[in-house]
């Protein structure tokens, strides 16, 4: 800014603050205050006991102690991570493969617009309706079982939702379907941002496409890969709609057995809306907040190199 214009500039610049106000006020009221009060409640005994409200009574870390000593939180963390890994591993592999194909000019794939449209589609579908659909399709008398029966693959209906690994597998499979298109498009954009001269040089040196992929594409894509992985992990920790609807919020479709598809957010939801134990819900939220804050910080470090204005790696327009 030039000095002689300073007073004018300052009077303009007060508008920057005015334009920021709606965001700042809304953020303060609906996110910052709730976050602080969540932390506050986590130190109190505070729950609905039938018609009575017990508390709030300050008990400091007892909610945390009871969360850890009951051990449920470890089981649900394990469940959440297992289902995330089961979905994420095929997701990243398939996305890398498709991204490489879509961005490779030598492939000249026909219908790539159609394929991109189709693979992105499940991402926009209402997760609750999608899992209700899977619930009906994979039920005992549902179409998947009848197709398998008609084809002679199985002799009697397989109860997908009663078995630990098929239930987890279904959740992971749905997560895979909903997110691999999104990841493909991100990775593809990243790959198209790589300097074509590098590929041409490798070409001249007689590198095979596998070598090019391993020695050029993957190393240059690393920041985006890490970014995709951590944001996916943050998303995975929020896993809720799919297992909640699929298992009717029980964590297992057949009541009474071990809860093998119960996720952390389902556990939180249970404290919030079923048992109404706000103290424990607060403690659980704080733990989740700390984990996501650490992960977010890593994302922040990757995606905002120094100047603050640039995003992760060179993502370009198509």
């Amino acid at each position: 800014m030039e000095k002689k214009k300073k007073s004018k500039v300052v009077s303009y610049n007060k508008w920057g603050i005015i334009f920021l106000l709606p965001f700042a006020i809304t953020y303060l009221i609906f996110q910052l205050i709730p976050l602080l009060s969540t932390i506050f409640y986590s130190f109190f005994e505070y729950y609905d006991d039938g018609l009575d409200v017990v508390g709030p009574r300050f008990i400091f870390l007892e909610n945390y102690a009871s969360l850890f000593s009951s051990g449920d939180i470890f089981v649900y963390t394990k469940n959440t991570l297992i289902m995330w890994v089961l979905g994420f591993v095929p997701q990243i592999l398939v996305s890398l493969l498709l991204g490489a194909w879509f961005s490779d000019p030598r492939m000249r794939l026909k219908f790539s617009g159609f394929f991109k449209t189709v693979i992105y589609l499940p991402n926009l579908i209402m997760a609750s309706a999608f899992s209700m659909l899977f619930f009906t399709l994979f039920s005992n008398s549902g179409p998947v079982n009848s197709i398998l029966l008609q084809a002679g693959v199985i002799n009697e209906a397989y109860t997908f939702l009663d078995h630990e690994w098929s239930a987890r597998g279904l959740v992971a499979f749905m997560n895979f379907l909903m997110w691999f298109g999104n990841t493909t498009i991100l990775l593809m954009a990243g790959m198209m941002g790589i300097d074509p001269a590098l590929f041409e040089a490798a070409e001249v040196d007689g590198a095979t496409s596998t070598q090019v992929f391993k020695k050029i594409t993957l190393p240059l894509l690393r920041p985006i890969l890490v970014y995709v992985m951590i944001t996916s992990l943050i998303g995975g920790l929020q896993m809720f709609d799919v297992p909640q609807i699929l298992t009717k919020g029980t964590g297992n479709p057949q009541m009474g057995k071990e809860l093998t598809t119960m996720t952390l957010i389902m556990y939180l939801n249970r404290h919030l809306s079923v048992s109404k134990n706000y103290g424990v819900a607060g403690a659980l939220s704080v733990i989740l907040f700390i984990i996501t804050a650490i992960l977010s910080f890593i994302v922040f470090r990757i995606s905002v190199p120094k100047e603050g204005g640039k995003k992760h790696a060179p993502v370009q327009d198509e």
Partner: protein, 286 residues
């Protein structure tokens, strides 16, 4: 275009063939479920219990009728979902553009700090503040009200970030300077010059905000607890799941699911090019 030759490794034709096979398989995996949904929504309960057929039946109208006359107020649900999603979408895109403009076009003291702060909280999920959020909403008497589902979308760090990115490439400050020389007020400049120039980004973000609000289940289920008339589609789907579904007419159940899913599919197919490009452009979404 230059013709490349691969001397080593798989030939380009083989690789292309493999690519087509894999892509077709994945497309099948994505579409198969919706195809079955469509078929089953057109069949009667009795017919459905006999097993799967690949061809549609003639019960579409009957299933539609039993869904309309059923116990779940499904049209109400759709209307509620629509009102919430449409309002959130307008507020979110308008105010995110405004916030991005504040950071992009002006210089003030705390600017750098605020920008860094927004980027840092961008990936913090709403679920971890849900407890404080519902206690707050309860204490100001807004339970069973759309307001706590709509107004918070004014502060959307992800949309803000997208808008900021877009402004860097598509909003030269010379335009703003020119407007100032013409005596346009800052607020007027924002509305009549910045907003029109940001239209492509606003459109992309409008779609994403609308869809994510339309699909949202966690927060509405905590806010719209008592009043059935105010519930949104995902809450109704969850109620359908909790009901003793074996007694349900399965044709009707499929019709209900189709009714919640197909509007988004139709809109998506119309705007897909746009959306796919928007994802690639934004980098951050999800």
């Amino acid at each position: 275009m230059r013709q490349y030759k691969t001397s080593k490794g798989l030939g380009i034709h083989v690789r292309r063939f493999i690519a087509y096979v894999v892509l077709s398989l994945l497309s099948f995996l994505c579409l198969f479920w919706f195809y079955v949904l469509f078929i089953n929504a057109t069949r009667s309960n009795a017919n459905l219990s006999k097993g799967f057929t690949p061809l549609p039946g003639g019960y579409f109208a009957e299933n539609w009728k039993s869904m309309v006359e059923g116990t779940l107020p499904i049209f109400n649900g759709m209307l509620n979902s629509f009102i919430i999603a449409a309002c959130s979408c307008v507020l979110c895109t308008y105010f995110s553009t405004m916030t991005a403009y504040a950071i992009h076009a002006y210089e003030f003291k705390a600017k750098k700090f605020i920008f860094t702060f927004i980027l840092m909280v961008m990936t913090i999920p709403t679920q971890v503040t849900a407890l404080g959020f519902i206690r707050l909403v309860d204490s100001i008497g807004l339970m069973n009200n759309f307001i706590p589902l709509i107004v918070p979308s004014i502060a959307a760090p992800v949309t803000f970030f997208y808008m900021k990115q877009y402004m860097e490439s598509a909003l030269p400050l010379a335009f703003v300077e020119a407007a100032r020389i013409d005596g346009s007020s800052e607020f007027n400049t924002f509305n009549s010059i910045v907003i029109p120039m940001m239209k492509p980004a606003i459109a992309v973000q409008a779609i994403f905000t609308f869809v994510s609000s339309w699909n949202n289940y966690f927060t509405p289920a905590l806010i719209l607890v008592d009043n059935e008339k105010l519930q949104t589609l995902p809450i109704m789907i969850a109620r359908l799941r909790s009901a003793d579904w074996l007694k349900f007419d399965m044709g009707q159940v499929y019709m209900l699911i189709a009714f919640s899913i197909f509007p988004v599919i139709v809109v998506y197919l119309c705007l897909s090019r746009f959306i796919v490009q928007g994802v690639a452009l934004g980098g951050v979404k999800g």
